[in-house]
Symmetry: C2
Subunit: 329 residues, 2 copies
DNA sequence: CGAGCAGCGTGAAACGTTACATCTAAAACC
DNA sequence: GGTTTTAGATGTAACGTTTCACGCTGCTCG
């Protein structure tokens, strides 16, 4: 019979089963114990509806199964799918996720890193572009998309390679003169390398390449203006466009249609990220796909692996090209 | 001077500061203490780089500041923005979020509810349509968008009212004959009431209303087929469409354009949810906006309030209409 | 001037677990 | 059969907090 309101403890179980406290602990933790004892304990656990108190566990062992995930928001589909994958990967490893959204606010980012340390999580997975974020040294920490120096491993897509690949694909599809549409963050981060890769790719392919760098926060209209400035007699100066983000690409596609341009017959279009869904809506666009699941898995491995081997300070995971029906020939 | 590797404890701080253990505890918890003592303790805390061990705290008090959030995924923008808001609201109340993604899998949902109980969270906020989910009784629990009976408070938008409002708005804009495009879930949930509200609204307004109920999982193409079946000589049978989801509405708008129909001149279009952003992309569509922030706040209040007053078993929060430029006249 | 009281710092006990050193009893060996 | 070995159950000592009864100091009031 279970006790009143307060939860039963291991001691209660031990008493109920007529065994010692330590024996219950062993059963709970799957440490081999005499058949007869195990059965008695298991029965008592069921009777009392006993559940271990993970805080007592955590206090003793110093280990909790919690991993903090610090991320600007969940509204950006890339972040959302990243967190989604992280959750699955952690669950598969019997860990769970404590989530913090920062809205890019440096103070909040800093506070959450501190808070995570205080909550005694087993590790931190952090995506922040904040250049002067002070990161923990006591707790395993992995950064995504932002290199914080050799001490903190950073995981990201191969953004440079992705940019290069985009250039290759445009060339393959017969483009001669292309433009890159980009939202330029003031903060340093790995995704910025998409530009370098694309420029290098264009150069290697002998592909003429213009750049339109929209300042972070500037209205989308500036992209429209840019396109119109390069639009004469119903013809665009470019036969290919590379958008550094899928969401920009989708928007640009709409704009191109409104300008009376056909995609991909008149202009070829390629995005970056591999975001395929928006709610119930399937999106189609040629894109460079970020390996979100692999990023998540790599982060979790780095955090949980106690393998003392040399840990790389930067891990770039290969991207892949995916053709989306109507955007590239 | 800080100790070697292991973290300093309150005892270390007490020794360093030359005060009693209890005094340190008071300082840490903001309980008034003699000025001189407080300063000594604070200095010692800084010296030793002391941080409280929240697991020891949790064990003593039985309270942790953790709230579990159980949700199908983060890929749906509605869920994502909900979780986003929940995170902010919880942070403002000095709590933090343990996130679990279930992918609608009943076994996972059940497992996570159990796990959350075990982790001794202070409360659970859960969004699941699973009809036979066994919910905790020991821990405060709030459900979103799904009524589980009088014992579990359920928070949702006023879906019925939203459907009704959509009908009103279409009528106001001069529609005569409208259709509702809907994805019909097999599982019971509050959002299903959008249909009832819309039907009731149309009836009250004297507005002819057809329904197209797409089975969950069926391809979008069926919506297209439906529209084409009601499309004769360049004219659609309907002068207004209500999509039960914004993401459907955006897709439908594309389809309408491809059919050569102008929105809103030829057909008026209204969605539901109030999803405004997709990455860097601003979306525009007339819609019934769900009060996501209010939902989050209400959930958190219900969980944290120890107010023994009568708790409603269903809380429907008012939605509002928002006109999105080019979709409704 | 002394008794009483308020304010406040003190330190021990307790929270529920794990780990380890002990101890018991049965098995193995000569 | 007696002794050694060993498997395995036992119970105690932490882990780092919070809480609370206690006792000290110094102030107030008669």
């Amino acid at each position: 019979m279970a006790k009143k309101g307060n939860n039963p403890t291991m001691n209660d179980v031990a008493r109920e089963a007529g065994v010692a406290l330590g024996t219950v602990s062993k059963v709970v933790n799957g440490i081999p114990v005499g058949e007869e004892y195990r059965i008695r304990v298991e029965k008592a656990i069921k009777n009392l509806n006993y559940r271990v108190n993970s805080y007592a566990q955590g206090m003793k062992s110093g280990k909790t199964r919690a991993i903090a995930v610090i991320m600007p928001n969940l509204v950006s589909p890339y972040f959302a799918s990243l967190v989604n994958s992280l959750g699955k990967t952690l669950a598969a490893r019997k860990h769970y996720m404590v989530f913090f959204g920062t809205d890019y606010d440096p103070d909040q980012e800093q506070e959450y890193v501190r808070l995570a340390e205080q909550q005694k999580v087993d590790g931190i997975i952090c995506l922040s572009y904040n250049p002067r974020l002070e990161l923990s040294e006591d707790i395993p920490l992995v950064s995504i998309d932002r290199y914080f120096g050799a001490k903190i491993p950073c995981v990201s897509s191969d953004n440079y390679g992705g940019g290069y690949l985009a250039a290759e694909k445009l060339k393959e599809n017969g483009c001669r003169h292309v433009a890159m549409l980009r939202i330029a963050s003031k903060l340093p981060h790995e995704p910025a390398k998409r530009r370098d890769g694309f420029v290098a790719g264009c150069e290697a392919m002998g592909l003429a390449c213009d750049q339109m760098n929209l300042e972070d926060g500037a209205p989308y209209q500036e992209f429209v203006d840019f396109l119109h400035a390069h639009f004469h007699n119903g013809k665009l100066d470019y036969d290919g466009l590379f958008c550094v983000t899928d969401s920009v690409a989708y928007q640009i596609r709409g704009t191109l249609k409104e300008m009376g341009l056909r995609v991909p017959e008149d202009v070829q279009l390629i995005g970056f990220d591999g975001i395929r869904k928006f709610g119930d809506m399937e999106l189609v666009c040629s894109t460079i796909v970020q390996p979100v699941d692999a990023i998540a898995e790599t982060c979790v491995n780095l955090i949980l692996n106690t393998d003392p081997g040399q840990i790389p300070s930067l891990l770039c995971l290969p991207v892949r090209y995916e053709c989306g029906g109507t955007t590239l020939k």
